[in-house]
Symmetry: C2
Subunit: 147 residues, 2 copies
DNA sequence: TAATACTACTTGTATTATGCAAGTGCTTAT
DNA sequence: ATAAGCACTTGCATAATACAAGTAGTATTA
């Protein structure tokens, strides 16, 4: 991987955002953190999309460099590292939720992504539309509770 | 380019969305349609991001195949084609707006993306938060008025 | 305490996607 | 009739990704 591109602060907002997380794998990782509560390198490898180790490493590095996630050593097991969302990263949840809402509307046979929102799969769409703030709070609160 | 991957209807909503528009160039094109009012192949080539013709052609084809955009011949000039958003495509505006909102918050020196929203650059953030529905309507209404 | 396994990576190579320059075919203006 | 505009396509060099294997530090097991 080459040196992570320094954020171009002179581009338009969309281009700025795309330069940071506008690729498939970064968003898959963010999904796993938000909706699946994942924190470890090995957990990200388990996703059905099958990200490879070098790409995962490069994306984690880039998102850490962009202050979207933080990396800390696991005090319970020093060979593991914990990846968490920063505030800047948590603020990306609306983007992900809009994608979910759009997909639920247009994908004929959607699987449920929000595994972390237990017991509320069928009314997800309703909550996305009418209880957005509450839903966002629920996800953020449940995220790091080792579901 | 290889045959556009058939939409996998069994994936999670995020993966479904990413499979359709989850790459830099598709979203740049959508930005140009939503915020710059672009409609022609040649107009998309003019963006500062400098998309190349083969990539532009492949993305337009894919988004057309996914019913995000439609392609019609320009009756005023038969050598030109007009690309417009379908309803499915217009429903992606919230995703783009969330990206703008996030970028405006975290990019120290943002350029203004919403060229189409004239006379309201400084209170964009306010509108994004408090008048979202009105803003969405404004953008969609102004989009195809050859600004 | 030595050997095995776990965890987070890195490295090398084949494959795929992208960037760039040039060309093609149809339409329109001169 | 000729040239210019427009939307592509094609060929090739370069860059990104996928896949398999290897490495180094920590933890577990015998």
């Amino acid at each position: 991987m080459r040196k992570p591109e320094v954020t171009n602060s002179n581009t338009c907002p969309i281009a700025y955002a795309l330069g940071i997380f506008g690729d498939k794998w970064s968003l898959i990782i963010l999904r796993d953190i938000f909706f699946k509560g994942k924190m470890y390198f090995g957990e990200f490898l388990d996703s059905p999309e099958k990200i490879s180790t070098n790409i995962l490493a490069s994306r984690l590095l880039k998102m850490e460099a962009e202050s979207i996630i933080s990396k800390t050593q696991d005090t319970q097991n020093l060979s593991k590292y914990i990846y968490r969302l920063t505030h800047k990263g948590k603020d990306l949840l609306p983007v992900l939720l809009d994608m979910v809402e759009w997909s639920v509307k247009y994908n004929p046979q959607p699987g449920i992504s929000s595994d972390i929102i237990k017991g509320a799969p069928e009314n997800l769409l309703t909550r996305l539309r009418k209880e957005r703030e509450i839903l966002i709070n629920d996800i953020l609160v449940n995220m790091n509770k080792n579901v």
